[in-house]
């Protein structure tokens, strides 16, 4: 019986085992280290007959590969420097995104009592909000720039289409009569 199975192992190595017998044998070999050893030994014999010179793998090589595959993903090898990931607040564009968001938030926040305020007030609020934020990087907008941004958004709302007003903040602003006196001057835009 054992010899029959080992003969199957030999035939498997030569690619001469019928397709239908491969699955069963592979599963059997998975459980039987002696059959795997025989397969490795037959393979070594063939290699030495074909090309006697050169290096061959150590007997433990295949089991080391198997263990390495089974092991979880390893850390990078020592000496391989990992590029430190940049903190998200230091990434390009973050300061600008914060400025725009703060300006919008300020405008929305002042809307409930917008009857008593105008867009300049809203812009001042945005500027104050920006001043309180710990913005990183040299590209942070100045309060003046933020004010211009807020003013631009308000002005844009006055000219946006009716369709656009249904789904953008500018629609909200355009409907607000308290904001109609705002004008936008591009002459000193950066």
């Amino acid at each position: 019986m054992t010899d029959q199975i080992r003969e199957q192992v030999s035939a498997l190595l030569d690619g001469e085992l019928p397709q239908g017998e491969i699955g069963l044998l592979v599963r059997r070999m998975e459980r039987d280290p002696e059959l795997r050893r025989a397969f490795g030994s037959y393979s070594l014999i063939g290699e030495l007959l074909r090309a006697p010179g050169g290096h061959t793998a150590r007997p433990s090589f295949a089991s080391r590969v198997s263990e390495a595959i089974a092991a979880p993903e390893q850390q990078p090898a020592a000496g391989v420097a990992k590029v430190p990931e940049r903190a998200f607040w230091k990434r390009p564009g973050f300061a600008t995104a914060i400025a725009a968001s703060a300006a919008l938030a300020a405008i929305v926040l002042v809307r409930p009592d917008a009857q008593h305020r105008n867009a300049i007030v809203a812009s001042q609020t945005a500027a104050e909000a920006l001043g309180a934020l710990p913005l990183a990087g040299a590209t942070s907008p100045t309060p003046a720039q933020s004010q211009r941004l807020a003013s631009y958004l308000v002005a844009h709302s006055q000219f946006s289409s009716a369709l656009g007003r249904h789904n953008v903040w500018s629609g909200l602003l355009a409907d607000d009569p308290g904001l109609t006196r705002v004008s936008f001057d591009m002459s000193d835009a950066p």
Partner: protein
């Protein structure tokens, strides 16, 4: 010296070994780890030998060969069987060896005094297995044992295994050459291997 790439002619019908490899690959792709282990066992010596030739550093060859097998396992999902498995594995091994050579050239010379304790131990461990007089002696002893065992085989067993391993003939071709049934060829090759393995086993254990 550039290693000779294995022939991969689409028009050539796949050999029994290639078909058997493909079957093992399909099984490994279905998460049958044992099937991939058999592919490693089948090609470990070929790959280690190839990598050792490229690196000209036997001490590093096994590590790089191991890395190549791990890469092959992780990329197995992308293997579609357009080429023979060994051709695909061969390319991975060559690329891994090239990367190793390139990184070795970028690396400043590491003197033993500058190595950490664990690095020294790793180097010593590799040396003790692959590049020492003892290891070379063992390799030589294995080769001598195989050659002697071949010489001692009965004529029919020796012919069968040489036609298979050295000439690369299929069982059917050997059966035609030796004028015997295919089943007899299969049995003779197996018995030849068993006889050699009996001599080899004490050296490998």
């Amino acid at each position: 010296m550039k290693p000779r790439e294995p022939v991969d002619d689409d028009a050539r019908p796949a050999s029994g070994v290639e078909q058997s490899d493909l079957e093992l690959v399909r099984r490994a792709q279905r998460a049958e780890r044992g099937a991939f282990d058999l592919l490693v066992l089948r090609y470990q010596h070929k790959v280690v030998k190839l990598v050792a030739r490229l690196l000209r550093d036997p001490a590093e060859a096994e590590d790089v060969a191991q890395e190549a097998f791990i890469k092959a396992y992780r990329a197995l999902g992308s293997f579609r069987g357009d080429s023979a498995f060994y051709t695909w594995l061969y390319r991975i091994a060559v690329n891994t060896a090239r990367n190793s050579i390139a990184s070795r050239q970028r690396r400043p010379l590491a003197y033993e005094a500058e190595l950490s304790e664990s690095e020294q131990s790793a180097v010593a461990s590799r040396m003790s297995h692959t590049d020492t007089p003892e290891a070379n002696l063992l390799s030589e002893e294995i080769r001598t044992t195989v050659n002697r065992a071949i010489e001692e085989l009965p004529e029919d067993l020796r012919t069968a295994i040489i036609l298979r391993e050295v000439e690369g003939l299929s069982y059917e071709e050997i059966a035609a050459a030796m004028d015997c049934p295919v089943g007899t060829v299969r049995s003779r090759i197996f018995r030849a291997r068993e006889a050699i393995d009996r001599n080899l086993k004490p050296l490998l254990d």
